[in-house]
Amino acid sequence: MQTLKAMAPGLTMIIVGLVFLSQTFVMERASLFDPAGGSFLPALITIVMIITGVIVIIQDQVKKKAKTSMMETTAEENLENEAQHADGAEDIQMTWKQYAFIFIYFVLTILYVLSISILPFSVATCLFLIISMIYLRGVSWKTNILVSIGSVIVFYLVFTRLFHIIFP
């Protein structure tokens, strides 16, 4: 399970490469072996992409090994450097709670886009802003309402007058 998790980015890269590669086979009016045709270069690129996927898997394995061997020798020191990789790049660590938090906000945004087709733009936007700020917490009721209504008015004026945008 641990190994699979470490290999996930590389595997995804390979799968994406393969999906695109499969598409180069079915292209119309293009021969895979004619460099002047429409599918030769894309196929070449997918192969490069698959190779980078393999490289990433190997790199991640090496890193993992280095990490475990480091843990054995200097367990205490490692605690401090846990977030740091050998190459110095910071590891982005997120909890499931954070993922869920972000995912729900993303769904909220999708709902907002859906609601634009049903409700008038200004109402939908105002509602979205109010609900967003409640969901993200830390903003008082007064500020929330003021900012939401204020921004909708500003959006409306700026975008219709200055940028000539027609709202749905």
Partner: protein, 499 residues
């Protein structure tokens, strides 16, 4: 003579003058907010100015570009949270200065020398670009292919310790750029059987998703991270002699900045770091140690990152190769208005070039004025809570992606790219090569195939890469850059050092 007339257009045309001023002011404000990148702002502006006149749109975008890169320094100095990657180096000494009660001094110096750097960048742009264009006019299909690949490679490799992921992202970008009807052969490519994809993926929608939506989601992780603003003490304006003392160092780092900016793939971020490093190496007696509030430590990165903008515009306007994500958006703006960026651009629409140079100078003048006059407002701006900011940006991103074609479908595409960008960011895949790939993909495809069609078989095609001087030089540079990415090069270097 004609050039001077065109150069003066933005100064005399009230409409352009206003747009540059508004762009610069807006850019400073938006750039000052940590988490709101210049790239995002310019992508939003592009989507909103879709129906505008080209010069109007460019004037606004240039204002935002200069203002945004500069504005980021406000947050670096005041709350130790860089407004953008270009301003990371500014916080090294800017924040310590603010803590010592010299925030206003740091703000003033960085403003003045951003202006100096910006102007030097524009001067180099105005002198070098016509020269480069006159050389580039002889470029063939192969040369374009090599340049575009070089740009992609550099952007991919500069992403820290993630070369393979960078190249992957660039490759995926090219493929996404090729989605739709094949312009040469006429067949459908990567449409997965969908009729809607025949016209291709709109790159502005991709841009808004990858830089806008994904950034919003990414910022949600650190919602409660807040900077503490330092207080502004009223101090007198530093005497002119004191300010002029830093002119030599600012000139040196500006030159570094321009050339780093002109390299495809390296932008203001690296320019600022190199500028800071140069100052650290060469300034013998700073007022304080570097890192503890040296004036040069604020001046150098700000002059360098402003100068880098002029540099970044050189390959954009002469070769049609964007150096970074922001200039990639400019390429998109030119495409939208039916212009083909490249050496012919200077010949066919030279007025455009000089108007852009004029607007850039103007943007720097406004930057100086706003930077010096409007100070106290920044304390409020840089501490606006993300809870308020992020929903508002989300709405603007939605409006922006809708407004391009008045289509809700585009908005869903934008959301899709947003989630892809977010997943990429979490797994440390650089996003910029993907965007560059989408934009350069069609160019790479057509130049490759035309070069092949123009040659007699595969052997002759390969020979074409070495039989003219320009192409030969580009090929050598390309091979060396490729080798530079691999471990072989570092091992050789290491051995040489040991030996």
């Amino acid at each position: 003579m004609e050039a001077i007339q065109q150069f003066l257009i933005p100064f005399l045309d009230l409409n352009l003058l206003f747009l540059v001023a508004a762009g610069t002011f807006g850019g400073i404000i938006l750039g000052a907010i940590p988490g709101l990148s210049v790239t995002l702002c310019i992508a939003l502006i592009l989507s909103l100015t879709y129906s505008w006149e080209l010069l109007d749109a460019l004037a606004l975008m240039l204002g935002v570009y200069f203002g945004g890169v500069f504005g980021g320094s406000r947050a670096s100095i005041l709350i130790n949270m860089p407004g953008g990657p270009s301003n990371v180096a500014t916080s090294f000494d800017g924040y310590p200065l603010a803590q010592k009660g010299e925030a206003r001094m740091a703000l003033t110096l960085s403003t003045i020398y951003s202006f100096v750097g910006g102007i030097i960048g524009v001067i180099v742009l105005a002198t070098l670009a016509p020269l480069v264009a006159s050389v580039a006019i002889n470029f063939g299909q192969r040369d374009y292919l090599l340049l575009a690949l070089l740009g992609l490679l550099l952007v991919g490799s500069l992403s820290k310790g993630a070369t393979a992921k960078g190249i992957f992202a660039a490759g995926a970008g090219i493929l996404v750029g090729l989605v739709g009807m094949d312009t040469i052969g006429g067949g459908a490519r990567f449409t997965f059987g969908s009729l809607e994809l025949m016209s291709g993926v709109n790159f502005i929608v991709a841009l808004l998703g990858l830089f806008g939506m994904s950034e919003i989601l990414f910022q949600l992780r650190t919602l409660n991270q807040k900077g503490v603003a330092s207080f502004l003490k009223k101090t007198v304006f530093p005497p002119l002699r004191f300010i002029l003392k830093f002119l030599p160092i600012s000139l040196r780092v500006s030159i570094i900045g321009v050339f780093v900016g002109a390299l495809p793939g390296a932008g203001g971020e690296i320019a600022a770091l190199l500028g800071y490093d140069h100052a650290k190496q060469t300034v013998k007696k700073p007022n304080r140690k570097f890192g503890e509030g040296a004036y040069e430590g604020v001046i150098a990165p700000e002059a360098a990152n402003s100068a880098a903008i002029g540099g970044a515009l050189i390959p954009l306007l002469t070769l049609g190769i964007p150096g970074d994500a922001v200039t990639a958006i400019f390429i998109g703006a030119l495409f939208i208005h039916g212009l083909q960026p490249g050496p012919l651009l200077m010949e066919q629409s030279g007025d455009l070039f000089w108007v852009m140079v004029g607007s850039s100078v103007l943007a720097n003048v406004f930057l100086l004025i706003f930077g010096l006059l409007v100070v106290s407002i920044f304390i409020k701006i840089v501490t606006v809570p993300k809870q308020v900011l992020l929903p508002i940006i989300a709405v603007i991103t939605v409006i922006g992606s809708y407004s391009i074609n008045n289509s809700i479908t585009d908005v869903y595409w934008m959301l899709g790219f947003g989630i892809i960008g977010f997943i990429m960011k979490i797994n440390k895949f650089p996003v910029a090569p993907l965007v560059l790939g989408i934009i350069l993909g069609p160019l790479i495809d057509t130049s490759f195939r035309r070069a092949y069609m123009g040659s007699d078989g595969f052997g002759d095609f390969l020979f074409g890469f070495v039989n003219t001087p320009i192409t030969l030089i580009l090929t050598i540079v390309f091979i060396f850059t490729m080798l530079g990415q691999t471990n072989i090069f570092t091992t050789i270097k290491g051995k040489l050092k040991k030996g």
